[in-house]
Symmetry: C2
Subunit: 368 residues, 2 copies
C-alpha cells in the first residue's frame, strides 16, 4: 500500500486516522497474510494508520512472529486471546495517537455490531465513520508486486482448467474433472482454494453447482468457475467445454460469446468508461441473438474476490492504468445449458494485457 | 436443527424471535449451504425464527433455487442485489411476525456495525440482543446426519494424510507433501479446502506455516494441520511424521504425547468435565518431561472450525452425549521442532468413538 496515497485519501475525507480490520484490508495495508483471522472470527487483527503518523499493527499473540516476518510495519502490538479485549486495546492505541474527539475511519461493513459498541463506549467523543471508500479508492490500482501475484494465479488457473479438459473424457464425473483442475492448481502454486463450481448438462445452469458424482454425457455443456488464492490474492476464472463433438448450435453460441468477449477486452484502455464496456457486451449479445440479463459483466479483484469497481451500466467512471478486472459473462441458453467466459485483464497505457492468457480461440473446448 | 429445542432456548432467554445471519448458523438452522455468502460479504442471508412460529428464510435472488432445494423452510423470500436492502427487508419481516417492541436475538458478533444500525433505526422499539448463546446451547450436540457428515470428513482426512506420508520420501518439498494430502482429500469427497499448514524442521514450530518449496531432510519433523469441508461441515486433523529413521528422542516424544492423547480420549464419556481432560493432558505432559503451555487442548467443531465448548482449565461443565470434539495438543521441543496430535471424538453413552480412526500406534509415522 502506498502511504502517500493513503494520507491523501484521509486528508480528502477529513479523517484523522483509518483502521483496517477485515482480513483483506489487513493484508492489503500491512502485507501480512494471517489465515487464522479468516478461520477464527474472534481472532481480531487491526492496522491503525494515523494521518501522516506512524502505523501500529495489533495482532493475536500467536500471530506475532508471522506479523513481524511479513509486515513492513515496525510497531507490532499483541493481545492474549480469551484474556485481553483487542477492541479495548485498539481504543487505547487510538487515544495514544491523539485521535480522541477526532474523526476515525473504521470498517463498519466488517467490524461486528458488538465490537463496534465496545469501541464507541471506550471513546464517546470520537466520531467513528465507515472507511470503505478509502480502501476502494486505493485498491483497484495494483502495485507491481500485486500484479505479479495476480498474473501468476490467473495464468495458473487458465492452464489448470485447460489441462483438465484435455485429459478428461465423456463419462467422467463432475467431481473427477473438478478434482483435476484443483490438483493442477495446487501443482502450479495455489496456496488455498476458495470455491469450485462445476455443472454438466442442465446442472450448468444452476448458479453455483457444487461438483457431484454425476457423469458427463456426450452433448452436455460443462461449465466451471474456480477460485484459489496465491499468497492471499484471488485467482478466479470460468470456462466451458462441450462433451463430445460440439453441436453446430453449441459451437455458434461459443463463437458469439467470444466475439463479445474479445471486443470488450480490446476496448479496456485508460479512458474507456465501465458503462461503455457493459453496453458493448449487451449490444453484441442481443445482435447475435443471445439472452442478456446480467446486472454486471465484471468485477475488480485482488485481496477480495469481488472488489469495486464493477462493470455495470450505471458506472460512468473511466478505466485507469493498473486496474485489474475480471470480464465475466454468462448466457443461459433456451436448451437448458449455461455458457460462461471469464478472463482477467490488466489495464496498461499500452492497452489491455490478458493475465489469464490472450490466446483466445473461437472454438469451444471439447472433452472427448 | 431441532425446533423444539430452539423454542425452549428462546423461552429460557425470554426472546420472541432469533435471527441467524452468519454462514455457519444459516447452514445449521436452514440446512442450505450458500457458498457465495462467505465469498461476497454483502450477499446477506438471514433465517428468522419467531418463538413457536413459522420461520422465514431471506436470501439473495440468485440463491433462491438453492435455498428451495436444500432447506426445509417453506417461506423463502428474496431480494434483488444492489437494488433492495436485505436488512430493511429483515426488519419488515420481523414486524410482520409481531416482533415490534419485543426482544429479538441476532448475531451481534457477526452482523456488521452498519447493518445493525440500519436494523435498529428501522425499529427503535425493539430490543435487539446478541443470540450467540442460543446457538451455542444447541450446536455442540450433533444430530445423526451431522455426525455422519463429520465422520466422513474425519475418516477421509486421516486416510488422506496417512496415504500422503506413505508415498512421500525424504527430499520431497513441503508443498509436494501438502498437495498429496489435498489431492487425496478431494478424491475422498472433500468439497472445499479451508486451510493447509505444513512445516518441516524448524518451520514445524511456526504456528501456521504455509507449505513452501522447501525440501524435507532426514532428521526433520514434518508437522501438518489440514482443514476441509464436507457439505459445509468441517474436517480438521493434525499429525506429524519423522523424515528418515526417527531418532530415539523423536520416537520418545511421540510415544509420550500419544500416552496423553489416548488417556484423554478414553476419558471422554458423559459426565467427565472438560477441565478434567485438560488437567489430565497437562499432568501427563509434565510427568513425561514435555513442555506444556497450551490455553486449551481441544475444541468442538461442526459448521464452524472452532466451536464452543473448548477443553480449557476453566470449563467445569460435564461432557454430554452426542458432543463432537477435536482433541488437539502441541509440544514445542527444545530441539526446535513442534509435534502435534489432533483427532476427532464423538461422545456416546457407550464411551468415546474416534471418528478419525481409533487405530492409534505408539510409533511416529515415518517418511522414508
Amino acid at each position: 500500500m502506498d502511504l502517500t496515497k493513503l494520507n491523501a485519501e484521509l486528508a480528502k475525507r477529513d479523517l484523522d486516522a483509518v483502521v483496517a480490520v477485515s482480513p483483506e484490508n489487513v493484508l492489503y495495508a500491512t502485507g501480512a497474510y494471517i489465515i487464522t483471522q479468516k478461520l477464527v472470527r474472534d481472532r481480531i487483527a487491526a492496522a491503525i494508520f494515523p494521518r501522516n503518523g506512524e502505523p501500529t499493527f495489533l495482532v493475536c499473540g500467536i500471530e506475532e512472529s508471522l506479523a513481524r516476518a511479513e509486515s513492513w510495519i515496525q510497531d507490532i502490538r499483541t493481545y492474549v486471546e480469551f484474556q485481553e479485549n483487542p477492541v479495548r486495546m485498539l481504543a487505547d492505541i487510538l487515544r495514544a495517537k491523539g485521535c480522541r474527539g477526532r474523526r476515525v475511519g473504521i470498517e463498519k461493513r466488517f467490524l461486528c455490531a458488538e465490537d463496534f459498541e465496545v469501541l464507541v463506549a471506550a471513546d464517546r467523543d470520537t466520531a467513528f465513520v465507515d472507511c470503505r471508500e478509502v480502501f476502494e479508492a486505493l485498491r483497484p490500482y495494483k502495485e507491481p508486486l500485486e500484479v505479479a501475484c495476480l498474473r501468476k494465479g490467473a495464468r495458473a488457473t487458465r492452464k489448470a482448467v485447460e489441462a483438465a479438459f484435455l485429459v478428461s473424457k465423456p463419462g467422467d464425473t463432475e467431481r473427477q474433472i473438478a478434482n483435476r483442475i484443483l490438483r493442477n492448481l495446487f501443482e502450479l502454486g495455489a496456496d488455498e482454494m476458495t470455491f469450485m463450481v462445476l455443472g454438466t448438462g442442465k446442472r450448468s445452469s444452476i448458479v453455483h453447482p457444487i461438483p457431484a458424482d454425476i457423469p458427463t454425457e456426450p452433448g452436455h455443456i460443462v461449465r466451471q468457475d474456480v477460485g484459489t488464492l496465491f499468497k492471499g490474492y484471488h485467482a478466479d476464472m470460468a470456462w466451458v467445454a462441450a462433451v463430445g463433438k460440439p453441436t453446430p448450435h453449441q459451437a455458434a453460441v461459443y463463437r458469439k460469446m467470444m466475439k463479445a468477449h474479445k471486443a470488450v477486452i480490446s476496448n479496456m484502455k485508460p479512458g474507456t468508461r465501465f458503462c461503455d464496456l457493459y453496453n458493448q457486451c449487451k449490444e453484441i449479445y442481443l445482435s447475435e441473438g443471445l439472452r442478456f440479463f446480467l446486472p454486471h459483466i465484471g468485477h475488480s479483484l485482488g485481496v477480495e474476490l469481488h472488489e469495486a469497481p464493477m462493470i455495470t451500466p450505471g458506472n460512468d467512471a473511466p478505466l485507469r492504468e493498473n486496474l485489474v478486472m475480471n470480464v465475466e459473462h454468462i448466457h443461459a441458453d433456451p436448451d437448458g445449458s449455461a455458457y460462461q467466459l471469464e478472463d482477467l485483464v490488466l489495464v496498461t497505457a499500452a492497452g489491455p494485457e490478458v493475465l489469464t492468457g490472450a490466446d483466445f480461440s473461437d472454438e469451444i473446448p471439447v472433452i472427448e
